[in-house]
């Protein structure tokens, strides 16, 4: 990425102060969002989300596995993020390892709740097939193909869309199995259960530049941040996860203010994503019928 001159930096900061950013948006506007689901046919669910010039693909694959001994009634979910070199030459080789790890952990924190599985946005109990023996393991893989800032929000939106597109096959367990044996499973090719995504939160990242916060920062705005807070909020307006990045300290009142701003913005983003996702799913339905 080419460095910015002092004049450009002043321009960007001044614009944010006056509520007109360099692409014409106000501080609390998101860039245009496009969602396309079902882009990876061999996955159980997938989605491609574009926010401005940032583009990510998420895919969900479900495999049968054994639940952990600590939580015999819960399935497992693992989230991996891979930043492709296609997006940024610096992501070549192992250059993106740190960023990928940071994003994976932030997403797991926002969507999966604590180590006990409590408070997860994804209902893990719906993934159980036979308690203590067989559960579904969901592997959510995300790939960043174009990077222009605000990767975390785009990834959160793509995972939400991919989960909405996910269909988990129905499993029939043969009843004649004793308590110790692994029961035989018959994975249906015909019947599928659509995954319930009503509780999946959206992630809003607020970047503080100077005295104001902006939402959906582009890659030219991100270097100016003093700190950034990423908040995941669910449909009910409850905060599901929070991450603060950036060196500068924040006054506690500023943090509470950011949380309320994020809660307000999450309603808009949630409804926008919902309409985009249902439009994308309807498109697939039309294609299948025609």
């Amino acid at each position: 990425m080419v460095g910015l001159s002092l004049g450009e930096k002043h321009f960007i900061k001044g614009g944010i102060d006056q509520n007109i950013r360099s692409d014409g948006r106000k501080r609390d506007y998101y860039r245009p969002i496009f969602v396309k689901t079902g882009v990876i046919p061999q996955a159980n669910g997938s989605a491609r989300v574009r926010m401005g010039a940032t583009e990510v693909i998420a895919s969900v694959k479900a495999e049968l596995g054994k639940p952990s001994a600590l939580h015999p009634d819960k399935g497992k979910v693992a989230i991996f993020v891979d930043c492709s070199a296609v997006a940024e030459p610096t992501f070549e080789g192992r250059g993106a390892e740190e960023l990928s790890a940071e994003l994976s952990v932030a997403l797991e924190r926002c969507l999966l709740g604590g180590t006990s599985g409590a408070g997860a946005g994804i209902d893990l109990t719906s993934l159980i097939v036979a308690e203590g023996k067989i559960c579904w393991d969901l592997y959510i893989d995300s790939l960043v193909i174009s990077s222009d800032g605000n990767l975390l929000d785009a990834l959160g939106a793509s995972i939400k869309a991919a989960l909405a597109n996910t269909a988990i096959p129905k499993v029939n367990i043969s009843a004649a199995a004793s308590a110790d044996e692994q029961p035989e499973v018959d994975i249906s090719d015909e019947e599928f259960l659509q995954f319930d995504t009503s509780a999946v939160p959206v992630i809003i990242t607020l970047t503080q530049v100077g005295r104001h916060y902006i939402v959906d920062a582009t890659s030219e705005e991100e270097p100016h941040m003093s700190s950034a807070v990423s908040i995941s909020v669910n449909r009910k307006g409850h905060v599901c996860g929070l991450t603060k990045r950036g060196g500068e300290g924040l006054d506690p009142s500023v943090v509470s203010d950011m949380i309320s701003v994020a809660q307000h913005l999450s309603e808009l983003l949630m409804s926008r994503l919902d309409s985009e996702i249902s439009a994308a799913e309807a498109e697939i339905g039309d294609d299948e019928e025609s």
Partner: protein, 241 residues
């Protein structure tokens, strides 16, 4: 297992000399100097070109030509079973080398000394012929970046199963254990720049199968030319010409 049934149809309903459906899109990655998405049937790859730009590693700098670098990666979800390690495995390293050598041979590197051209190819869906799709996508991306080349490089694969030469193998046909011939071809200059084959093939059949792959390359070249022409028309239109 029958790969060509008595009526002459393959597993996916194609004829032996029929290629899969091609689809290309230029300019998919906004930040790259040139980018393209190339689909051959269910195989989908995205290529991005960054360059010519300043050489990052001064020890590799060359005073009389540009340095061409390439990285091939497969996405976690690209194959039927999840891949754990997207990059760094031996197959990816080999294919990165193959693509780099093929593209380097046709880029006019002497016009851009002391600079670096990076080609990144990412496989989004793998269903056989990923090597060929990557080379085709890289050609489009290089053209989109405006990098001078001797000719378009196109690539296609061909095989020989049930005593029939087959064009453009998909994953099932490729993993059948029969030969897989990949050809990289310069259509205008009429020269072969890449030739790879695995498994056994009788000597008198090799010529046939290679010729079939070359025909496939010529067809892809026609398609790529159409796509580039359409893209140029769009650019002219947007500039008001």
């Amino acid at each position: 297992m029958e790969f060509v049934n008595p009526e002459g149809l393959r597993l996916d309903g194609r004829r032996p000399m029929e290629m899969r459906q091609l689809r290309a899109e230029i300019g998919a990655v906004a930040r790259a100097d040139g980018s393209a998405v190339f689909e051959m049937g269910n195989t989908k790859v995205i290529a991005a070109v960054y360059g010519p730009r300043e050489v990052q590693n001064k020890s590799q700098l060359s005073n009389d030509q540009a340095l061409v670098r390439c990285e091939y990666t497969m996405a976690n979800f690209s194959t039927g079973d999840r891949k754990r390690k997207p990059k760094g495995d031996r197959r990816s390293t080999e294919i990165s080398l193959v693509i780099r050598q093929t593209m380097e041979a046709c880029i006019l590197t002497h016009l851009m000394p002391r600079s670096q051209i990076d080609i990144y190819v990412q496989v989004l869906q793998a269903d056989g012929g990923t090597r060929s799709a990557c080379i085709n996508a890289a050609t489009l991306a290089l053209a989109d970046a405006g990098i001078p080349m001797r000719d378009l490089v196109t690539s296609c694969s061909a095989g020989y199963l049930n005593s029939t030469p087959l064009l453009d193998l998909n994953y099932l046909e490729d993993s059948a254990g029969g030969p897989d011939v990949t050809v990289g071809f310069l259509p205008k200059l009429d020269k072969v720049t890449l030739l790879q084959m695995d498994a056994k093939l009788p000597v008198d059949i090799v010529e046939n199968v290679m010729q079939l792959a070359i025909e496939g390359c010529k067809a892809i070249a026609t398609y790529i030319r159409e796509v580039l022409l359409e893209n140029t028309k769009q650019l002219e239109y947007r500039r008001g010409l």
